[in-house]
């Protein structure tokens, strides 16, 4: 299979067109359109069981949709030449919900796996870079030699993030990144993502329920309701959208608290 070898770097890195996903007779997504633009942080919200993680897996390439196409840089994913596809996949980092660390390897070895497979740098530098990633996600240095089974849930998540960042991906997928982190750690994580985005032109798609993250770092918020994404826009626009679930979500007490917190913060800094 030859496939297309040319990609268009100016096209959106990822686009879903008319996606239909179903498990047996159960339709999860129907005619869903969604675009992730270069350099933005998109938050994906939706009720439990609305298929957020499934959509993420579909966009990642772990699952083929039952209908519609996924485009990477303006090209149909399935029409891409294998080596181009591989290159694009190497530029993706994923943090799975449970961390998905390899349990037979230490944290440091986990982070070194993608480096070893895809680069030619020396073992020593690899180890140092892995330790740097461990530090960046806020884990203590001692955790480098621990096995995933020795880590708490929050630590596993951080270690999973460190591994997702191992190759400095261009596209970062985060499935509930701040769930299980304490508020201080969650804030530091948000700052880290903002810093990385600025330095490296990072594009982030995050499934999250952390309203603070949504308000703080997301450029656009995509809402998955009624099997589609009817709106993906800035917070101000999305929160005015006329849909019962959206109103409930952004008008609830937790949301109001998060807005208040953000306003206080911006008054203090500005």
């Amino acid at each position: 299979m030859a496939g297309e070898t040319e990609i268009d770097p100016s096209a959106p890195p990822m686009r879903a067109v008319g996606i239909r996903t179903q498990f047996g007779p159960n339709v999860i997504h129907d005619n869903l359109d969604f675009t992730v633009n270069q350099g933005e942080i998109v938050g994906l919200v939706g009720g439990s069981g609305s298929g957020k993680s499934v959509l993420m897996n579909t966009m990642l390439g772990l699952k083929e949709p039952e209908g519609g196409t996924i485009e990477y840089f303006g090209r149909d994913r399935n029409a891409l030449a294998p080596e181009v596809r591989r290159k694009i996949n190497n530029g993706m980092g994923v943090l799975f919900q449970g961390g998905a660390l390899f349990s037979s390897l230490t944290v440091r070895q986990n982070i070194m796996v993608p480096m070893r497979e895809n680069t030619d740098i020396s073992q020593g530098l690899m180890r140092e870079l892995a330790d740097m990633k461990i530090h960046m996600v806020g884990l203590p240095p001692e955790s480098a030699v621990l096995y995933p089974s020795d880590l708490s849930g929050g630590m596993k998540k951080r270690a999973g993030l460190a591994r997702a960042l191992a190759l400095d991906p261009k596209l970062l997928f985060l499935d509930e990144p701040t769930a299980g982190l304490d508020p201080v750690g969650a804030n530091a994580f948000d700052e880290l993502i903002l810093g990385l985005r600025e330095a490296m032109d990072l594009t982030v798609l995050m499934v999250t329920h952390d309203l603070d993250s949504l308000y703080h770092i997301c450029d656009r918020i995509a809402v998955l309701v009624d099997k589609r994404i009817p709106i993906a826009d800035s917070l101000a626009v999305v929160s005015q959208y006329d849909h019962p679930w959206v109103k409930e979500y952004f008008g609830g007490p937790r949301s109001r608290a998060a807005i208040a917190a953000k306003e206080t913060q911006s008054r203090e800094t500005g």
Binding site: S104, I121, H135, M136, P141, G195, L196, E198, M200
Partner: protein, 376 residues
């Protein structure tokens, strides 16, 4: 595209070192940049490092880490650093890189005397495993006694389904294997005994070996390989997903729920499977005897009855309940000993199968001595 132009220049301004990186400082360039910067600054004395990022095309964490080495590798480590021109992102990356330099530890290396340490550990572990096995066996009998006192607590539903998977599903493979073993023994007999003109003794050979030893051993080994690994894996997976903890919290006795049904299932399945193995082993022997030495089925059974006798069938079968209990107990114990990691699940499954086969052969040898002394 800009790979070839990735480089840097160093400039001294009084006490400050100014680093001008150019091109793309990314992980794909790291192997050619690694070490160079550190070497170049090693002879310079400075207290401050400035980074001028104007010529930089791309920077990632690996590049930032390499740049940050300039701070540590001077004659004396620099006290401060700054990004004099560059984006906030560059600054964020650099501060992440500089702070990460702290707090690292070397890997532990393998020593030559590790081999001895491992032999010692293995010896201790063997002893501990033996003790733990008997402790587990004792615990099982206590729970079993309780269950017998209150038969309502027996989980018949799970016993029946286990008998199906342990016994019924294993019957075809056990019978097939035993059939071939019986045939092979008969062939051996046909070759050896024909030279003495005593071909009819091959019936004795097949009868004794199949009934007394081989059918039992084949069945036990197959049960150990097939069902023991399944017991360990399923109980181990339950342990890993905290299902066992959930049971304990609910006040369920894990022994009663998981171990007792499996032991009873093996206790029921093992003798039946062994009997089937004996019959098909004899059938294999009979067919070969008929084909090679013209021993008709009637002659075969007459000779079997006269020379071997029903007693040997009981000698074989009497061992089976003990093997069944032993195999099930080993599988369950290893399953419950699984810890959090996937690796331990694999290890425990291997251990369960090895221990089960080992103990089957050991106990069988003890039975052979016992029966010899008893004269049966």
């Amino acid at each position: 595209m800009l790979a070839s132009s990735t480089d840097y220049e160093l400039e001294m301004r009084e006490n400050a070192l100014v680093v001008h990186p150019r091109g793309s400082w990314t992980i794909s360039q790291a192997s050619q940049l690694e070490g160079r910067l550190a070497r170049d600054v090693a002879s310079l004395t400075y207290t401050h490092v400035d980074y001028d990022m104007t010529g930089l095309v791309e920077l990632d964490t690996a590049g930032a880490y390499l740049l940050a080495r300039a701070i540590r590798h001077g004659v004396v480590p620099a006290e401060s650093w700054d990004v004099c021109s560059g984006s906030n992102g560059h600054k964020t990356l650099m501060s992440a890189a500089t702070s990460a330099v702290l707090g690292r530890e070397p890997e532990t290396r393998r020593q030559w005397y590790d081999a001895f340490a491992r032999i010692g550990q293995a010896t201790i572990r063997f002893w501990e495993e033996t003790v733990a096995f008997f402790a587990f066996l004792g615990q099982f009998f206590v729970v079993m006694a309780k269950v017998i006192a209150q038969p309502k607590r027996l989980r018949w539903r799970s016993i029946v389904s286990l008998v199906e998977s342990v016994g019924f599903d294993a019957a075809p493979i056990v019978m097939l294997l035993s059939f071939f073993i019986g045939a092979v023994i008969a062939y051996m007999g046909a070759n050896l005994l024909a030279s003495f003109g005593a071909s009819v003794f091959m019936v004795d050979l097949v009868g004794f070996s199949i009934l007394r030893e081989l059918a039992v051993i084949i069945t036990a080994i197959l049960l150990a390989g097939r069902s023991d690994s399944a017991f360990t894996a399923s109980i181990g997976a339950m342990k890993m997903r905290q299902e066992i903890d959930a049971m304990k919290v609910m006040g369920l006795d894990t022994f009663e729920v998981l171990v007792v049904p499996r032991v009873i299932a093996c206790l029921i399945a093992m003798p039946i499977l062994t009997f089937l193995a004996m019959m098909s082993g004899l059938a294999g022997g009979l067919l070969v005897a008929w084909a090679t030495a013209d021993i008709t089925p009637i002659l075969f059974f007459n000779r079997l009855n006269a020379a071997v006798g029903i007693q040997n069938l009981w000698v074989g079968l009497v061992k089976t309940p003990i093997f069944g209990v032993m195999i099930a107990i080993i599988g369950c114990r290893q399953g419950l000993a699984v810890t959090g990691s996937v690796e331990s699940l694999g290890q425990r499954t291997t251990t369960a199968v090895v221990q089960a086969i080992f103990s089957v052969i050991l106990v069988n040898a003890m039975f052979a001595i016992l029966f010899y002394q008893m004269g049966v």
